[in-house]
Chain length 236, copies 2
Amino acid sequence: MAAAAPPPAPTPAATALPDPTPIGHPLFTRIRLATASDVPHIHKLIHQLANFEHLAHHCSATEASLSSTLFTSPPFQSFTVFILELSQTPFPPQLHTHSALFSPITQTITLDLPIDDPEIETFKSNDKDCGFDVVVGGFALFFPNYSTFLGKPGFYVEDLFVRECYRRKGFGKMLLSAVAAQAVKMGYGRVEWTVLDWNVKAIKFYEEMGAKVLQDWRICRLTDEALQAYANPAAI
Amino acid sequence: MAAAAPPPAPTPAATALPDPTPIGHPLFTRIRLATASDVPHIHKLIHQLANFEHLAHHCSATEASLSSTLFTSPPFQSFTVFILELSQTPFPPQLHTHSALFSPITQTITLDLPIDDPEIETFKSNDKDCGFDVVVGGFALFFPNYSTFLGKPGFYVEDLFVRECYRRKGFGKMLLSAVAAQAVKMGYGRVEWTVLDWNVKAIKFYEEMGAKVLQDWRICRLTDEALQAYANPAAI
């Protein structure tokens, strides 16, 4: 997992008399549920995340493998993706992006300087109701997990990623907060994810968000040939 | 997670002439899908697991909370439970326990001495097609997770537990092998679970089963009041 670092967007200093002139550059943000048509963007984001983690050689996801395994269940019941979109202009009223299960979350932040996105053409949003300047800036992929001790489900966040030019603006926190809010709404008990122990910046960010880092649990993984050896359990 | 330690059941030594007299005490085992009617047993097993991990004070699961959150989806699509049953007599042909999705796995092991189960009355199986001596010996609770790097699902094993008097006979391995076999059958990429770093016996057992223990990942958890604070993400 990778995440934007903590500092929120700078806001104008309070003045004695309100100034009607906007200070800085507003950036309009929206978090919405992804659909199958977002797979090309999700695929590119996953490969950028793998590069960030120096794990590109372990990344074999293709658009076809993602298409055949994601978006096969209603949102939140299984693998679910939140997409972060950014725009220079306000988002239009919610049309088909508004599902009964999830209302997109819009926020406006003000930046000192506009962001120069070198990949604006690659990550143009494919939401037809939006203006031409909407870009995909990041995503969170999560799914239900289960705590037998609580006797209730939670969410496990497999990936949280913000593209490089949008980091350190609070977008990682926005995405993770959206997952946490959905967990609260559904009466779930926990939101969990993992972090590399050397990523002190991310650990600090997560702790500031209220998360506890469990120091004494280790993940065990059975994969590749070691997993295939269990094709017939009675023969083990 | 807790598991039976590695050694498989002892088998009779080979002799030059086969001896028709059975040596030792046969124990018949079956792994089947749990259903809602297994909740009382699952609830007791979860509390035994919490005691084993010295975490009973964190265990708030009730029969009601388990009943309302488990068995709401078809097996393997969401939270799924395998039940381990043990019997002194062979299991009858598979009747309603045989689902199109999973055929129960039966095996016979031979023990030097019979097992004295002090909780035989508490854990009598409620499968009506079985003899009166069938007892529940353990369980595995697991659900699909997702690897974005592989672009495919896997299984995450939340709990693997064998009751004390049945440990060190290979039953933990049987349960975990059954989950791994199901993952292979479904074309999944991984089976994962967690282990406490001080539980060297369990770590050795898992490594002997072919698992890798990931040393540099830590679990982050947002729960209780820290989670509730995210009820409204736009207000964060």
